[in-house]
């Protein structure tokens, strides 16, 4: 492969790796949690018109995701 093809490919790969490390990294549970938060809030607000429920649930789900991720980290530190 010529260097004119490999250079953009390497750049693209590096760009993809940066976003993977940035968003998923060693906490895939937080990435998944964010997807769930967005999905549930979209259902409540955009589709269901349950604004009050979305107002309460969005931060509550974020807090729960953080607590869950910390519990996982605590459990894995105990195993070590």
């Amino acid at each position: 492969m010529s260097k004119y093809v490999t250079a953009p490919l390497r750049l693209l790969k590096g760009f993809g790796r940066f976003w993977w490390d940035f968003l998923v990294g060693d906490t895939p549970e937080l990435f998944l949690a964010a997807l769930v938060i967005i999905g549930v809030t979209a259902l409540l607000s955009d589709v269901g018109h349950f604004n009050a429920a979305a107002v309460v649930l969005l931060p509550l789900m974020a807090v729960s995701a953080l607590a869950l991720s910390l519990a996982l980290a605590r459990r894995s530190s105990r195993k070590e």
Partner: protein, 254 residues
């Protein structure tokens, strides 16, 4: 009057978040630059730093104007999601460090490791390539997170100019202070700063995710301050809970 108050409160939170995020990353980058400068001379260290800052500025210049053209609702949903993940990651790390489950970021250890790495490789004649690359990588990699924070926070709030100015001020302030205190960067309360930034970013992430999904926040922009208070309280509770659990465990184990 209410609108003016809520607008200024969101601007204050934005300024605080960008300034602290830049300052934290700048401290980490500066540790490497100072180590390079002290070990191999300041020329290559400064050159590496300047080139990295120019590359980061070019990224902001390239992506900033492009992001402004994305429809605001879509932009806020994407940015909100990114900030939610990013903020929770920062907060998680800061809570783990604060409660003793994870070792704190040790600037002294990073400084010593960088010095050892540079001493192991021989001194080069002319331009010191190794020192240049190390300084460049240190500033560029730490700066990438700042670029993402500045672009996402600035464009979503429609205050990209303000975010860039605040980031530049943070870089200059930390740079000047760092040049004065040189090797005492380990005295900076980095984890407390990181925790504060985490709280602020999660708050922005929650707010903009909701805005992007057409959630109507009570009090409009002022809801941001409620989120800051809520996540601050939750962080304090989680740190206290984990600390107590760990100390009880160590008492049982002894």
């Amino acid at each position: 009057m209410l609108v003016a108050t809520s607008v200024s409160s969101s601007a204050i939170v934005l300024v605080g978040t960008v300034f602290l995020a830049c300052a934290v990353e700048m401290v980490e980058a500066l540790t490497i630059v100072v180590a390079v400068g002290h070990t191999r001379g300041w020329r290559s260290a400064v050159e590496g730093t300047v080139v990295a800052l120019a590359a980061l500025s070019a990224l902001v210049g390239a992506f900033g104007p492009a992001l402004v053209h994305v429809p605001l609702t879509t932009l806020r949903l994407i940015v909100g999601g990114v900030l939610l993940i990013f903020g929770m990651q920062w907060l998680r790390k800061a809570i783990l460090r604060s409660s003793g489950l994870k070792a704190k970021h040790d600037e002294d250890a990073i400084y010593e490791a960088t010095v050892a790495q540079l001493r192991a490789s021989g001194v080069e004649r002319g331009r010191d390539q190794k020192a240049f690359v190390l300084a460049f990588k240190g500033v560029f990699l730490e700066g990438l997170e700042v670029v993402v924070a500045v672009l996402t926070l600035g464009t979503s709030a429609h205050r990209l100019g303000l975010a860039i100015v605040v980031a530049a001020i943070a870089i200059v302030v930390v740079g000047v202070v760092g040049a004065i205190v040189a090797k005492q960067l380990s005295n900076v309360p980095e984890n407390a700063m990181k925790m504060t930034v985490g709280i602020l970013i999660v708050s922005f992430g929650t707010f903009w995710t909701g805005e992007g999904l057409k959630v109507h926040w009570p009090g409009s922009d002022a809801a941001l301050l409620v989120f800051v208070a809520l996540y601050g309280l939750v962080t304090w509770m989680l740190v206290t809970f984990i600390r107590r659990g760990e100390s009880a465990r160590s008492v049982l184990a002894s």
